[in-house]
C-alpha cells in the first residue's frame, strides 16, 4: 500500500507537467494580449509593445514554456501580471476557502444523496421514491448559478435568515474558538457557508442519490440479504449494516470523481456568493489573461483533484477487502 501511494504520488509529476503544457497551449490559442489589457484601452501601441517585450511575451513559445518549467521546479510559479504579487502567495491565500466550500458541499451532498437513495430504494415505486427521484432530476438539470440566485433570493432577501454574500472567519479558526467555549464565531461562519455549500452540493447530491438507489436495489436482491433477514435480523439493521455497506462501494469512487465537478461548480458558486476562493480568482484571471495566474490555478486544481482521488482509492481498499492495491 505504501509503495502504491508513493507510485501514485510520483505520477503527479508527469500529470502536472502535462497539465502545464496543455494549459500553455490553450493560452497560446485564445486571443487576447495581456500587455494591452494591463495598459488599458487608452494605451498607445508603442507602450504595449514595450511592455510585451519586458514581460517576455514576444519570445518564442518553447522559450517561454522552458522558462516556466525551470522556475516551477525551483518552486516559483511566477508573478501575477495584474496583482503584483507572486502567484503562489495569491493561490495559497485563496485555497483554504475553496477547499472549505468543496468539502462542506461534498459532505452535504453525500448526506443528502445517500439518505435519499436508501429511502427511495427501500420504498421502490412508492410516492417517496417518486419524490426523491424528482429531486434528483431537478438537481441534475438545474444550473448551479441559477440555483444559487434562487437560494439567495429565498433565504437572504425574502426570509432574511442568512447573509446573502461573503464568508465568515475560516472554519478552522471558528472550530478552534468553539472548542474553547466561544461558539458565536462558528455560528457566523456556518451561516455564511450554508447557502453556497448547498447550491454547490445539489448536483452532486442528485447524482449520488440515483447511484445509491440503483446500487441498493441491486444489493437488496442479493442472497446474503435474504439470508440475514432469514436469520431473524431486523430490517433496519440489514439495510444499514449489510446492504448499504456493500452498496456504497461503487458510490465511493463516484464521490471522488464528483469532487472534480465540485471544483468546477465552485467557479460559478463563488462568484455569485462572493466567496473569496480560487473559483472567483479563476474567472478574474481568465478575463484579464493573467497567464501565470491561470497556469498556477489550473495546476493547483489538477493536483488537488489527483490527491482527492488518491485518498478515495486508498479508502476503497480499506473498506473493501476484495480490492488490493499494487
Amino acid at each position: 500500500m505504501l509503495a502504491y501511494t508513493i507510485r501514485r504520488l510520483l505520477l503527479l509529476v508527469p500529470m502536472g507537467a502535462g497539465m502545464v503544457v496543455v494549459t500553455f497551449g490553450l493560452l497560446l490559442l485564445i486571443p487576447g494580449d495581456p500587455a494591452a489589457l494591463m495598459l488599458g484601452q487608452e494605451a498607445p501601441a508603442e507602450a504595449i509593445a514595450a511592455l510585451r517585450r519586458s514581460l517576455g511575451l514576444d519570445d518564442p513559445w518553447h522559450l517561454r514554456l522552458g522558462r516556466y518549467f525551470l522556475a516551477l521546479v525551483q518552486g516559483d510559479m511566477g508573478m501575477s501580471l495584474f496583482q503584483s504579487q507572486p502567484v503562489a502567495t495569491i493561490i495559497w491565500g485563496r485555497l483554504g476557502a475553496t477547499v472549505e466550500l468543496a468539502v462542506a458541499a461534498l459532505l452535504l451532498a453525500s448526506a443528502i444523496g445517500i439518505s435519499l437513495g436508501v429511502v427511495a430504494a427501500m420504498r421502490q415505486g412508492s410516492w417517496v421514491d417518486t419524490l426523491a427521484m424528482l429531486f434528483a432530476q431537478l438537481g441534475v438539470s438545474m444550473p448551479v448559478y441559477w440555483l444559487a440566485l434562487l437560494l439567495m433570493l429565498g433565504f437572504a432577501v425574502h426570509l432574511g435568515w442568512l447573509p446573502a454574500v461573503g464568508r465568515g472567519a475560516p472554519m478552522s479558526e471558528a472550530l478552534w474558538a468553539a472548542l474553547r467555549g466561544r461558539p458565536e464565531m462558528l455560528v457566523q461562519s456556518l451561516s455564511y457557508l450554508v447557502l453556497p455549500a448547498f447550491a454547490l452540493a445539489m448536483n452532486a447530491a442528485a447524482v449520488i442519490s440515483r447511484l445509491v438507489r440503483a446500487s441498493m436495489l441491486e444489493v437488496l436482491r442479493e442472497d446474503f440479504v435474504r439470508t440475514a433477514r432469514a436469520k431473524g435480523l431486523r430490517r433496519p439493521r440489514v439495510v444499514v449494516r449489510h446492504a448499504l455497506r456493500n452498496a456504497l462501494l461503487p458510490v465511493l469512487s463516484v464521490i471522488g470523481l464528483r469532487f472534480g465537478a465540485l471544483l468546477g461548480g465552485a467557479v460559478l458558486t463563488e462568484s455569485i456568493f462572493a466567496w473569496p476562493g480560487l473559483g472567483q480568482l479563476t474567472i478574474a484571471a481568465i478575463s484579464q489573461r493573467d497567464l501565470p495566474l491561470i497556469q498556477g490555478i489550473v495546476l493547483t486544481f489538477a493536483i488537488v483533484f489527483a490527491l482527492v482521488n488518491l485518498v478515495v482509492d486508498l479508502l476503497y481498499a480499506a473498506v473493501d477487502p476484495r480490492v488490493r492495491l499494487e
Partner: protein, 514 residues
C-alpha cells in the same frame, strides 16, 4: 523625576487613545459598499480597474480634486497659477502629512509624476501625462509643471494620488500596503473579498463622517443587488442589470440617484475598410441604429440617446450638432443612391454581383451590448444588409480585433471622459494612437489640436463644436448612447451620499459641507 515623566507620558497616551480610538468609532457609523471587481493594486499610479481608482481616490489625495461637475478644486494644492501657456505652478497646503505621519512635500509630487512618465514603469495612464515635459520642485511647497505645448485638459488629470517618495524608494510596496494623504487609510485587504478602510487622522480636510468603510467585492451584478436587498450592503452602484434597477427603483427602502455618467457606448466604423470608406455609406448604416429602442428597452432608460461626440454635461456641448437619427427609409434611399440594390430579389442588396455584407462585433461580458448588436443585426437584415455578428470576450475583442483594426463595425465604449480631449484627440486625429478606425480629416485634426492647446473655455468650445459638426456628418464614430450612472443606497443612511459620475466615493463618506 523619571517616574513623573513616565506617568505623564502614560496619561497622555491614555488620553490620546481615549480620544482617537473608541470615541470616533462610536460616533461615526460604518458603511458597506458593493464593488464589482477586486482592486488589482492600491498604487494610484498603476490603477487600471474601477475599484483600484475608487479606492485609491479615498486613500490618496491629488493636487486637485474633481467635483461631481468635473471642476478642478484645490486639494493638496491650495492654489495654482499659469504664468504662461506652458507653465503651471502649484502651491501646496501647509503642514501636509501622509497617513504614516511623514511630511508631504513638493519632492513627493515631483517623484509621483516622474515615475508615471517613466516608460519602464508602465503606468496605464501615462499617455494622459505625456505632454508634461518637466516637473520640478521650486521649494518644499511649490511645484512647477512645464508642458511641451499648451495642454488645456491637464488640470483634469492632476487629481491622481501623490505617493510618498521616501517610502517607495526604500522599497515599500504601495500596491499592497498603500500610504497616502487621502481621507481614509487601509485597515485590511482580504483579497477577492473585501477592502476595509478607516479614517486617516492626518487628512488635511478633517474627519470623514464614516468611521469604517468596507468595500465588499461581489462580481455578479444580480447577487450585488440582492445583497443590498438582504441588508448586507448599504450602497451599490453601476454596473447593474436593468431588471434589478427597475425592481430596486420601485422599493421605498432605497434612495436612488441616476445621473449622466462619463462614458459613451458607440459604434466604431473602420474607415479603412473598402465598404465603409465613404462617409455616405457610414451615414446610411448609422441611420439604421434605433437609439430610442436601444436606450429604453435594452438599457431601461438608464442611458440616454446620444446626439454626438460631446457629452451633454460638458461645457463644449451644443444641442445644434446632431448625428444622423433612426431613419430606415433614409438609409434605403442612401444605399440605392450608392448603387446597392436588391437586383436578384433574395432580400439582400448587392452591387456588381457582390452582396452588401457587414460584420458587427462586440464583447460578451456586457449582455446589454450583446442585445444591442443582435437588435442592430435584425434591423439591418430587414434593410437588406447581410449582417453577421462576431462575439468574443473582451480580450479577444479589444486587444486582438478592434485595436488591430480588423473590425468593420464594432460596438464598444469610452469611459472617464472628464475632458472632450480624452475621447477625441488620440482617437480621431490622423495617425492618433487610438485611431483604430483609421479616420483622417484635416479639418478635424486642426480643430482637435486647437481644442487641446487653446487655454480659455470659449476658444476650446468653439474648436470642439467645429470638430463635432464634421464628425456628426462623417460618422467615423456613431455615438449610440451617453452612459448613465446609477447608485442605490439604503434610505436611512446617516450620511446622505452624493454621487459622482465616475463612481468615486468621497461623496459617500464626507459630510456634505466638505
Amino acid at each position: 523625576m523619571t517616574t513623573l515623566s513616565r506617568l505623564t507620558g502614560a496619561t497622555a497616551l491614555a488620553l490620546l487613545l481615549g480620544l482617537s480610538g473608541p470615541a470616533t468609532a462610536q460616533t461615526s457609523p460604518a458603511l458597506t459598499i458593493g464593488m464589482d471587481v477586486d482592486a488589482g493594486t492600491l498604487d494610484p499610479r498603476l490603477a487600471r480597474d474601477t475599484t483600484a481608482f475608487r479606492t485609491a481616490d479615498l486613500i490618496y489625495s491629488g493636487l486637485v480634486q474633481l467635483t461631481p461637475e468635473l471642476q478642478a478644486v484645490p486639494e493638496l494644492a491650495e492654489s495654482w497659477e499659469a504664468p504662461d501657456a506652458t507653465t503651471l505652478v502649484f502651491t501646496l497646503r501647509e503642514g501636509l502629512t501622509f497617513s504614516d505621519g511623514s511630511p508631504l512635500t513638493a519632492d513627493d509630487v515631483v517623484f509621483t509624476f516622474k515615475s508615471i512618465l517613466n516608460p519602464d514603469f508602465a503606468a496605464p495612464m501615462r499617455a494622459l501625462y505625456a505632454p508634461i515635459a518637466a516637473v520640478e520642485a521650486v521649494d518644499a511647497r511649490t511645484v512647477k509643471f512645464t508642458l511641451a505645448a499648451p495642454y488645456a485638459p491637464v488640470l483634469s488629470y492632476l487629481d491622481i494620488g501623490i505617493v510618498p517618495k521616501a517610502l517607495v524608494e526604500a522599497g515599500h510596496d504601495l500596491a499592497a500596503n498603500p500610504v497616502g494623504a487621502g481621507p481614509m487609510r487601509l485597515v485590511e485587504w482580504n483579497r477577492g473579498a473585501a477592502i476595509v478602510l478607516e479614517p486617516n487622522p492626518a487628512y488635511w480636510g478633517g474627519a470623514p463622517a464614516v468611521g469604517r468603510l468596507t468595500l465588499q467585492i461581489i462580481a455578479n451584478n444580480n447577487a450585488r443587488a440582492q445583497a443590498l436587498e438582504a441588508g448586507d450592503l448599504d450602497l451599490i452602484q453601476s454596473p447593474l442589470s436593468p431588471q434589478d434597477i427597475a425592481r430596486l427603483a420601485a422599493d421605498s427602502r432605497f434612495q436612488n440617484t441616476i445621473m449622466p455618467g462619463l462614458g459613451v457606448t458607440y459604434l466604431n466604423f473602420n474607415t479603412r475598410d473598402p465598404l465603409l470608406a465613404d462617409p455616405a455609406m457610414r451615414r446610411a448604416f448609422a441611420m439604421l441604429v434605433d437609439q430610442e429602442t436601444i436606450v429604453n428597452e435594452i438599457y431601461q432608460g438608464v442611458d440616454a440617446v446620444a446626439t454626438g461626440v460631446i457629452l451633454p454635461s460638458s461645457w463644449a456641448y451644443s444641442a445644434d450638432i446632431s448625428q444622423p437619427g433612426f431613419d430606415p427609409e433614409g438609409a434605403a434611399a442612401a444605399f440605392e443612391a450608392l448603387g446597392w440594390r436588391d437586383s436578384n430579389g433574395d432580400g439582400i442588396r448587392d452591387r456588381d454581383g457582390r452582396k452588401l455584407a457587414v460584420t458587427l462585433a462586440t464583447h460578451t461580458e456586457d449582455p446589454n451590448r450583446v442585445q444591442t448588436i443582435e437588435y442592430l443585426q435584425a434591423v439591418m437584415q430587414q434593410a437588406g444588409v447581410e449582417a453577421s455578428v462576431r462575439l468574443t470576450d473582451w480580450p479577444g475583442f479589444s486587444t486582438n480585433y478592434v485595436q488591430k483594426s480588423e473590425h468593420q463595425i464594432a460596438l464598444l465604449g469610452w469611459l472617464n471622459i472628464v475632458d472632450p480631449d480624452r475621447m477625441l484627440y488620440g482617437q480621431l486625429t490622423t495617425g492618433g494612437p487610438l485611431n483604430w478606425g483609421g479616420y483622417s480629416n484635416a479639418e478635424v485634426d486642426a480643430a482637435l489640436t486647437a481644442g487641446r492647446t487653446a487655454l480659455d473655455i470659449p476658444a476650446r468650445t468653439e474648436a470642439y463644436r467645429r470638430a463635432a459638426a464634421v464628425l456628426a456628418e462623417e460618422v467615423p464614430y456613431f455615438i449610440v448612447s451617453y452612459q448613465g450612472y446609477q447608485m442605490f443606497a439604503k434610505a436611512d443612511l446617516p450620511v446622505k451620499p452624493t454621487a459622482s459620475p465616475r463612481g468615486y466615493l468621497r461623496g459617500a463618506i464626507m459630510a456634505p459641507a466638505n
